[in-house]
Subunit: 275 residues, 2 copies
DNA sequence: TGCAAAGGGTACGCACAGCGTACACGGAGG
DNA sequence: CCTCCGTGTACGCTGTGCGTACCCTTTGCA
C-alpha cells in the first residue's frame, strides 16, 4: 500500500518552480501588463528574484516585455493543449458537444473536478450566456452549478467534505449555501441521474448536467447544457434536454471505451546500448 | 555522452523553472500517463530530480498520480485563462466571432503570432473542419495558413526573417515552400488587405483571414473564417465572406479602442490557489 | 523457484544555483 | 533640489537542489 506522499519534508519541494508559477499567474485582470516592481509587490518576492524569473520565462517564451511593462504571450495557451492531448475524453467529446448544440441550439460543455472547483475542459458555445464568460479552463464553484452537483454527487466522500470545508459562498438569493441542503441535493442527483440548477450562480442562468461514465462505470466528467431562464423552463429541460444529454453522455462513454487503449507503444530508447 | 550542452549559462536564468516546464510539457499524446522513470528518460533528467519536480507540481495542483502513473489535472487549463484575462482583445472578439459564425454558418477564429507559429487565441467552432482539431491554444505554421500570412504580412522584417529561417515545411502539394514565393504572397496580402489560403495545410481546408488593428493602426491579430473547399469556392470567399470579415475586424478594432483600460467587471470570482 | 527488469523511495554530502542586500542609474514630477 | 518611480548589477553567502548510490517491491519469464 502506497503511503500518501505527504511528509512536508521541504526537501521534495522546489521553491523556484513555485515562484515561477507565482509570477506567471500574477498576470491578472487587475494587473494585465505589470512592471517588474509591481510583480515583486504582488508576489512578495524581491525585485532581483522577480527579474530572474521574468528573464527565465521570457527565454522560455511565456512572457515578453515592451518598455518597462511585461505581458503574457499566447504561448501560455499552448500549455493547456497538453491536457487535451493526454485526456482522450476532450477530443472524443467535442463532436458530441456539437451535436447537442445543433440539436438544441444552445451551448453545451464538458467539465471535470479539480480540487474544489469545476473546470470546463471542452465547450461549444452558441451564444453568450448572460454575463458569464465561460470558456475552456474557466473555474466555477461546485455548489452553484449543475456540473458541480453531478461531479460531487458521484465523487468520493472526502472530496465532498473538502468542498464543504471550502465553504458555500452565496451568489444569488437562490444559491444553496447550507451543507445539509447541499448533501440533499447530491442525493437528489444520484436518484434522478441528472442535475438542474436554476439561477444559483447568476440570476437567469439555467443549466442541466448529467454524468459521463467510462468503461468501468466511473464518472469521469459532467456533460451540461446551459441556457437562460427566459428561453427555457425547468420543465423544458427535464422533458426535452435531459434525455438528449443522457443519450449523448452514453455515446461519449461508448467512444471513450473504444479508445485505442493508448495503443502507441513506447519505443525503447537505444540511448544506453550501442546502435 | 552528455547530449544537451547547457546553452543557458546566463546568471539570470533559473534552471529549476525550465525543468519544471520540461516535465509538465513532457505529458503529451505519446506519453499521456507516464511513470516517473518514463518522464526521466523523456526529459533527460535524473529520477530524483523528476520526482522532486513531480511532487512540487502535485502540491501546486498541476499533476496527480494514480498508482505509478502520473497525469495532468484540469488545472493546467486554468493557466491559459490568465492570457484571456490580460488581453482584452480575446473577450472583445468573442461576440464578434459568434456573429461571423451565425452569419456564415462556419467557424471563425482569432489568432496571434508567437515566435514562428500562429496561435489561436479565440475561436467559435461550428463544426469540425476536416481532420484538423483546432482549438484555443493550437499552434499552426505561419506559412501555410491564411492567418499566418496576414500576421506575417504586417509583422516586422526580422519576424519574417525568423519565420523563413525556421523553414517552410510542405504539408500538401500546394504548400508554398519557396521563400521568394512566400514573400510575394505577403506582398499580395498587403495589397489586397486579406489572405485566402487553399489546401496548403491540409487538402480541402480553405480559409480567409484579415488583419485586426488596434487604435494606433497596428495589426494585433488576425480574424479568420475557415471552411471546406467542397462547401465554398475561393470566389465565394472573396465575394461574400471577406467583406464580412473586414467589417467585423473593424468592429473589433473599434471595441478595442473603446476598451477603457479595464471596464470588464463580469467575472465570477472563482478562487484558485490554496495558499 | 529464482532471477532480471521495471517500478519506486531515500539517504547524504557537495557544489553552485539562486538568494537578497546594497548600490547605481535615468526620468518624471513636485 | 529632492523624491519617487522605474530599472540593472555587483557580490558574497546560504542552503537549495543536485546526482550518486543503495534499497525495496512487483511482475514476468525462464
Amino acid at each position: 500500500m502506497n503511503a500518501i506522499p505527504d511528509q512536508r519534508n521541504g526537501r521534495d519541494f522546489i521553491q523556484s518552480i513555485e515562484r515561477g508559477f507565482a509570477v506567471l499567474l500574477a498576470f491578472d485582470a487587475d494587473l494585465p501588463t505589470p512592471t517588474l516592481a509591481e510583480l515583486a509587490k504582488r508576489t512578495g518576492l524581491s525585485r532581483p528574484a522577480v527579474r530572474r524569473i521574468l528573464l527565465t520565462l521570457q527565454k522560455l517564451g511565456y512572457v515578453s516585455s515592451r518598455g518597462p511593462r511585461w505581458s503574457l504571450t499566447p504561448r501560455v495557451l499552448t500549455i493547456g493543449q497538453h491536457y487535451a492531448a493526454t485526456h482522450g475524453i476532450v477530443e472524443v467529446a467535442r463532436p458530441h458537444l456539437m451535436r447537442v448544440a445543433e440539436r438544441t441550439g444552445e451551448s453545451s460543455s464538458l467539465a471535470q473536478l479539480d480540487g474544489t472547483d469545476v473546470v470546463y475542459v471542452a465547450r461549444v458555445h452558441v451564444r453568450r450566456v448572460l454575463s458569464l464568460n465561460v470558456d475552456v479552463g474557466t473555474r466555477l464553484p461546485v455548489h452553484a452549478t449543475s456540473m458541480g452537483r453531478v461531479l460531487a454527487a458521484y465523487a468520493e466522500a472526502t472530496t465532498v467534505d473538502r468542498i464543504l470545508d471550502a465553504g458555500l459562498p452565496r451568489f444569488t438569493e437562490w444559491t444553496v449555501t447550507d451543507p445539509i441542503e447541499f448533501r440533499d441535493r447530491l442525493h437528489d442527483v444520484r436518484r434522478a441521474g441528472y442535475a438542474i440548477v436554476d439561477s444559483e450562480l447568476e440570476d437567469g442562468f439555467l443549466s442541466a448536467a448529467v454524468p459521463v461514465r467510462d468503461a468501468t462505470g466511473d464518472v469521469v466528467a459532467a456533460l451540461a447544457y446551459s441556457t437562460a431562464r427566459g428561453r427555457h423552463s425547468i420543465e423544458d429541460l427535464e422533458r426535452t434536454v435531459v434525455p438528449v444529454l443522457l443519450e449523448v453522455a452514453a455515446d461519449i462513454g461508448r467512444d471513450l471505451a473504444a479508445l485505442p487503449e493508448r495503443s502507441r507503444r513506447l519505443r525503447v530508447d537505444a540511448r544506453d546500448g550501442f546502435f
